[in-house]
Assembly symmetry: C2
Homo-oligomer: 147 residues x 2
């Protein structure tokens, strides 16, 4: 069973670039030893990289991930760390649910604009022969008048 890893091994395993791994080290989230210049990663580094990648996948910033990793290192009986992480995760869920709503709203807006455009295109192509002056605005949205 392997206990040390090269940068490209880990890069392949976790589907990140060596550049990203070096960046994580520079940010203090990994601390590989060195053989001359070359980085030698331990299983601990590997686990941490796994956590980093997972954290990124669910949308945490590196700063947040680093906090959690640090907390995990302190490990004061684990409960405090677990509770802090739990809260972060819960917060993230709320943020993502909000994002989902935003996306749905954007989708609705886009679909409406497309419908509007389709109509305009149809009109334009019908009228093309006779008339040429059309007043096309763009997003199908008028500038807001208040607020």
């Amino acid at each position: 069973m392997k206990t040390t890893f090269s940068i490209s091994e880990l890069a392949r395993e976790f589907a990140v670039t060596p550049r990203a791994i070096r960046f994580y080290e520079q940010e203090g989230m990994l601390s590989p030893s060195r053989q001359g210049q070359t980085r030698i990663f331990s299983t601990r580094d590997r686990v941490r990289l796994g956590l980093i990648v997972q954290g990124k996948r669910v949308g945490f910033s590196l700063a947040e991930i680093r906090e959690m990793l640090d907390l995990y290192d302190i490990g004061d009986g684990q409960v405090t760390q677990l509770k802090v992480s739990r809260k972060k995760f819960a917060d993230r869920i709320v943020a993502l649910e909000r994002q989902r709503i935003d996306i749905d709203e954007s989708l609705a807006g886009l679909r409406q604009s497309i419908a509007w455009m389709d109509q305009k295109i149809k009109q334009a192509e019908e009228t093309e022969a006779r008339e040429k002056s059309m007043n096309v605005v763009g997003f199908g949205v008028m500038p807001r008048t208040g607020t």
Copy 2:
């Protein structure tokens, strides 16, 4: 009816910062005239800013928005422009739908992690209570278990 606007008027109306508006100008998307140093925005600027903000809301990059604005300026009979924009919008819809799926997957992962943590916390707190009942330390302070 107003035909000119100050930077902060537009900022208020469209809920963006003056800084952002200056940035859009710097990027060539707005071209207010000047009275001395001070920017004077026309209704055209106002419409364009509205389009920028709308475009941003549905997730277009400034580069994409600028392209569409430029197209609109050229306005070669409009139909071409409409079709190009339509395609951009359709592409954006696809991208957003993909994003939605990603978010749903992240949410699932987060919820699972939370469930796992809750279980761990429960376990840990049960253990803690058991230790406390057997070993009264006083003042609610637990001995340190390690670094």
